[in-house]
């Protein structure tokens, strides 16, 4: 059973709080620009070197078993296709409820992640299992729609029973320097979410530089995001270790600055147990073990679950497992 605590915030409250953090009397684009551009820069080579070094940690035996179960519990098991059907979503939910029929001790993933129109189907399938339903919203994945449409998209998913909303930021506005628009959109979506948990997808592959990732992370946290998330999964590159490292540094430093803890969700392209463990090492050594729960760290993934199950079976039986011993959804 995943617990997430979410505070209902109005856009007005978020703006007032942002003024306090920035120390300004009026939240303007230039105030946001000075603040975001005053953050320390990121050296690409150093950042990637650090991520690669953490990737060489050797996680064996009991640690590996612990990491595999922890990672399974952090998965937002995802299907976001135009071809999604009720059948497909029910099948995915069934997989979430019973990840490994051969081993009932297998933990369940944290959530199912679907488009808004599939929320009701997923809710019904998951029942009172405690597995959350997350819905992508705000004209996912491009975010290219007017604000009323984005808000309606959000409310629709919330009303259908979504526990979590994964919104996308307006990357065009961000890249053109219109930070205030990005802030306002996030704050308004947050207000529309009410007590539904809000994840802010920055689509880091389109932001390109680590400096932008850091700025977008701070902007998303300032505007009330409960989670910051790397990617939609529709753009390459999606989640990478160094991008996630920057985000983990951001949530760590944000808590020091404001006392508020924000979660991190890398999504897209994380397919293997080996990768997942590298992310967990990074969570532990960069942000700290306070983030080592599904409340504060998620993987947006689909095929990752089965690879974790294969590795889990290997640890249990001592023999390498194969694709025929895990179920497709």
């Amino acid at each position: 059973m995943v617990t997430v605590s979410t505070t209902t915030r109005s856009a007005q409250e978020l703006t007032a709080q942002a003024r306090d953090v920035l120390g300004v009397s009026r939240l303007t684009n230039s105030a946001l620009t000075s603040w975001l551009h005053g953050l320390p820069g990121v050296d690409q080579v150093g950042c990637e070197g650090r991520a690669a070094a953490l990737g060489t940690r050797s996680i064996k035996t009991t640690s590996k078993a612990w990491a595999i179960d922890t990672a399974i519990g952090m998965i937002d098991l995802t299907t976001l296709e135009g071809a999604d059907t009720v059948g497909k979503v029910r099948s995915l939910c069934a997989k979430a409820l019973v990840p490994d029929a051969l081993d009932p001790t297998t933990p369940r993933p944290a959530a199912i992640c679907v488009y808004g129109d599939m929320v009701a189907t997923a809710k019904a399938a998951l029942g009172d299992s405690g597995i959350h339903v997350a819905a992508v919203a705000t004209a996912f994945p491009s975010g290219r729609a007017s604000m009323p449409v984005k808000l309606a998209d959000t409310r629709d998913a919330v009303e259908a029973g979504a526990d979590e909303i994964d919104m996308v930021i307006d990357r065009g506005a961000f890249l053109s320097g219109d930070y205030l628009t990005v802030f306002n959109q996030i704050a308004e979506v947050k207000q529309a979410c009410g007590d539904t948990h809000l994840k802010v997808i920055m689509e880091t592959g389109e932001l390109v530089t680590y400096d932008n990732v850091r700025r977008a992370s701070y902007l998303s946290m300032l505007a009330g995001g409960d989670f910051i998330k790397t990617s939609t999964g529709k753009v390459q590159p999606a989640a990478t270790l160094p991008v996630t490292l920057i985000m983990l540094e951001a949530v760590r430093d944000w808590r020091e600055l404001t006392g508020v803890q924000v979660g991190v969700k890398p999504a897209g392209g994380i397919k293997t147990t080996k990768d997942a463990i590298k992310y967990l090492v990074m969570v532990s050594e960069i942000a700290g073990d306070d983030w080592m729960t599904p409340q504060w760290f998620r993987f947006g993934a689909s095929s990752l679950l089965n690879d974790l199950l294969l590795q889990r079976q290997k640890l249990a039986t001592g023999a390498y497992s194969g694709a025929d011993y895990v179920t497709i959804d």
Partner: protein
């Protein structure tokens, strides 16, 4: 709250076979062990092997073997053929990389992560790089203006330290062989094993006998080698004190010398630095190889207005450093190489505290056996403190502050050394200005402790002379003077 505990992940030592005792490698073969002394694993003080103390007669034999090989085969061989031998050595080092990494970690105490990812691959890369030079020396730009094509000196005596045993061997042997010299090399007293394993590599490569000779022993062996009358060139990496002795001992002779000596590098962090990467640079600058690095960033010069922020981030980061069993693949810091070195570090840190520095170390439990020192930060250090001027050669960072770029440069240069320096700022023009002003042979800007076979390394002032690596490193191993008379010594630097 769950915590992510890393289970022990020890590298297997089964890959390495260590003999009970070793002789000297002279003229292509090992001598019978004699006058042996023990080399131990500094992580647990167990004896690894007995190695031989080479006496003056052994040095004579080794130098004579090198001379014969120089005159008989190596000095007359075409560059292309020499190069192929070096390529072979590079490949064998790559093939036997894990074996070397394990052996080096056992003998030195440094983490397997470093020997595996840095020492051994970089050593192989040095041979690979220099192999290609062997038949291209005329293109190295050393012989313009009436000077002749580069020629080798002859027999080179090389004495290397214990901090990077195999890598320093590669830094020394690869350029010497590529340029056509033959070699007598003495590894450090406490870390002889990887050099002795390298002797096997020479055998596997069918390197002609006598081209490389490895003699083990303590400082007396090194002195006998350096002062041997039939050695044409000396290459030494080690302390400035011994470097000066060598410089005196070759005074008035025709012997050449390259000296890579001590350092007390400033790592300068400005308020506009990429802070998280700077913290990583500080950590790798002083805790890489337990700080037992001549170019270590042992003096952190941090701009006063970000001092508290940087120190807070640094301390948090040091809390994640893993100190312990060097053979564990997750260890970030291993053992100090010897009891003597541990005592020196301990004494200097105590002196620093007595002079008013504040000492801090993260919580870490150190193994009961072996030579261990926790990662240590000394704050409130002044330029006059011994810990700010003397090379500690251990995992100890002295923190000082500055207010302006000029003050940073003045403090950084205020030392008898001049090996390396670090600069952290996102402002490009300031980097270039700082790089101009710093009196150091290597300046790392927004990075630290990077090494590459193509990149020359060496210091200003009392950090020694000559460069190793790159095109510049070839210079020390060749002469371009007219060979009119064997007794003639042309005016040139030593």
């Amino acid at each position: 709250m769950p915590t992510f505990e890393y289970a022990p992940a020890p590298e297997s030592r089964a890959i390495v076979t260590i003999e009970k005792s070793y002789g000297l490698f002279i003229d292509g073969a090992f001598t019978r062990p004699k006058a042996t002394f023990a080399t131990i694993n500094p992580a647990d003080e167990t004896v690894l092997a007995e190695v031989s103390q080479a006496g003056p007669k052994d040095v004579d034999k080794a130098v004579a073997a090198a001379r014969r090989a120089y005159e008989g085969v190596w000095g007359t061989m075409s560059g292309a053929e020499r190069g192929k031998y070096l390529f072979r050595i590079a490949r064998i080092l790559q093939e036997r990389a894990r074996e070397f990494a394990v052996l080096e970690t056992l003998d030195n105490g440094k983490p397997i992560k470093e020997t595996r990812d840095v020492d051994v691959p970089t050593a192989a890369a040095h041979f690979f790089y220099h192999a290609g030079w062997a038949d291209k020396l005329e293109y190295a730009g050393l012989s313009a203006g009436g000077a002749e094509a580069p020629r080798p000196h002859g027999v080179v005596g090389q004495v290397i330290p214990w901090n990077f045993p195999l890598l320093m061997l590669a830094w020394k042997i690869a350029p010497a062989l590529a340029t056509g010299n033959t070699v007598v090399l003495k590894p450090a007293e406490t870390t002889p094993l990887s050099a002795l394993l390298f002797a096997e590599v020479c055998q596997q490569a069918d390197l002609p006998a006598g081209v490389v000779n490895i003699i083990t022993g303590d400082g007396r062996t090194g002195q006998a080698l350096v002062e041997h009358p039939d050695v044409d060139k000396v290459a030494f990496t080690g302390s400035t004190e011994v470097g000066k002795m060598i410089a005196r001992s070759i005074a008035g002779t025709s012997k050449k010398a390259t000296l890579e000596l001590g350092g007390k590098a400033a790592n300068i962090v400005f308020d506009d630095a990429p802070i998280d990467q700077a913290v990583e640079g500080i950590v790798s600058g002083i805790f890489f190889n337990q700080g037992q690095v001549c170019c270590a960033g042992s003096r952190l010069l941090v701009q006063e207005n970000v001092h508290d922020q940087v120190i807070a981030k640094l301390k948090r980061r040091l809390g994640t450093l893993r100190v312990g069993d060097p053979m564990d693949k997750n260890s970030d810091l291993g053992a100090i190489n010897s009891k003597a070195q541990l005592d020196r570090i301990t004494a200097l840190v105590e002196a620093g505290v007595a002079e008013g520095a504040e000492r801090w170390s993260p919580e870490c439990s150190l193994p009961a056996k072996g030579f261990w020192f926790p990662p240590t930060v000394l704050t409130g250090v002044s330029q006059t403190h011994r810990v700010a001027t003397e090379e500690i050669f251990g995992p100890v960072l002295s923190v000082l502050t500055f207010r302006t770029p000029q003050e940073a440069v003045a403090k950084a240069n205020n030392t008898a050394y001049g090996l390396s320096a670090g600069v952290w700022t996102e402002k490009g023009s300031r980097i270039l200005w700082m790089a101009d002003q710093l009196k150091a042979g290597v300046v790392w800007a927004n990075t630290f402790n990077r090494f590459d076979p193509t990149s020359p390394f060496g210091g200003y002032k009392e950090s020694g002379y000559g460069r190793e690596g790159g095109r510049h490193g070839l210079e020390a191993y060749v002469t371009t003077a007219p060979a009119t008379s064997s007794t003639q010594l042309t005016g040139a630097t030593r």
